[in-house]
């Protein structure tokens, strides 16, 4: 069960990192076009 919590934390970390990588790319491209 405790390891399940760790697994969920890994998934949450992955989701947050990928979303923020998308935000990074969006900000870069948008600010370059502005």
């Amino acid at each position: 069960m405790r390891r399940l919590l760790a697994d969920r934390l890994v998934i949450a970390t992955g989701v947050i990192v990928v979303v923020l990588a998308l935000v990074f790319a969006f900000v870069r491209v948008a600010s370059s076009q502005a």
């Binding site: 760790a6 990192v17 923020l20 990074f24 900000v27 870069r28 370059s32």
Partner: protein, 441 residues
Amino acid sequence: MQYRDLVRKAVWSAIYLLFILAPLFALLAGNLPPARNFGTEFSVALGYSGLAMMGLQFGLTARFRHVTEPWGEDVIYHFHRRVSLLAVSLVVLHPLILIAIRSEALALPDSIWDIPWGARFAVLSIASLIVLVVTALWRKQLKIRYELWHLSHIVLALTAIAAGMLHMVGWGFYLVDPLKRALWIGMTIFWIGLLLYVRLFKPLFMLRRPYRVAEVCAERGDTTTLVMRPEGHAGFRFKPGQFGWLTLWASPFRITGHPFSFSSSAEAADGRVEMTIRNLGDFTSAVKAVKVGQRVYLDGPYGAFTIGNPTDMHVLIAGGIGITPMMSMIRTLADRGDTRPLVLLYGSKDLESLTFREELDTLKARLDLKIVYVLSQAPDGWTGETGRITAEVFKRHLPPAYADHEYFICGPDVMMDAIETALGEMKVPLARYHSERYSFV
């Protein structure tokens, strides 16, 4: 206590994410080169975050007590293994996306000698990461000796991170800016510093605080207890249920120490500690050959697995040599004159392999302790429990307010998985479980 642990978990999770993402978003500050297309920028962001995640892997295994305490060392190591897959996926996705969008950055020159150094380091970094993950996931199948694997694991991780950093610096672009370059080089030095902390600083500390083996006691079930006393220092205090890293036959600088629970009472005098080690056919088979007077090194205490609320019934569930932390709890509570109700469910192969059986039966007189032995190979005439520890065994021996008790579980992974499932079916809340997996390295 639970609220405090929850806050500590949230704070450390936030710090972890900050260390991954803050250096990435710092790249957006100041003067920027013209942006490339969305796919390229996204893939670059994944590469940077993946490398930061790999670097922080050194922090997860650096044995920082404040970091590991709210989770337990076994959970941290589990996270370390799982998140490495995520980090490697992000790093590998970086070139894959560039290939998919046919980025000009991947255009091959006419001659192999014209390939820029930045690209060569990228290949070296990714290749090291892939070998690192394959050897970590399939070490046993590949028949790699643990000590050799551990050394190669560190070398591969250092190569992957150093080559990743050289790739970023060599490629330029964001890191052309001297401040950003300094930040990322500083981050790399910090990650390597985490490794040096556990491999250099801690061993130096241990070298100055050695222990001496005072007794070597043979126990039931091909098991040996090492009684160790601090030499020239006061030792450390531990909580019953915690563990330490033991280095035998070598200096503390040796790459591989082994984690063992303390089996002695936390109230033992003069800093004396005991570890009880079963012969599992690996290096543990040589423990019985340890001589009295031998110098050993201990790094500890670690672990969040320890006794809980004094008003709750404590249900201690041990499988095989998983009895050792329970023994420390029982001995400590006896020494403290503690009267909380205790139930020990102790699963083992047969009567002969029930380590500490006689002492446990004696300790019942000093505690409110009920012991239930569960034998998988019971002798003729045995009237006790047989088979495995299941929900049915719980129901036969525990008072029915199951969710009110605190459960402490230590044993082989298969047993722990089965018990955790059984407790879930009995509607025992997760906050009432305490467990430690001794096969976490």
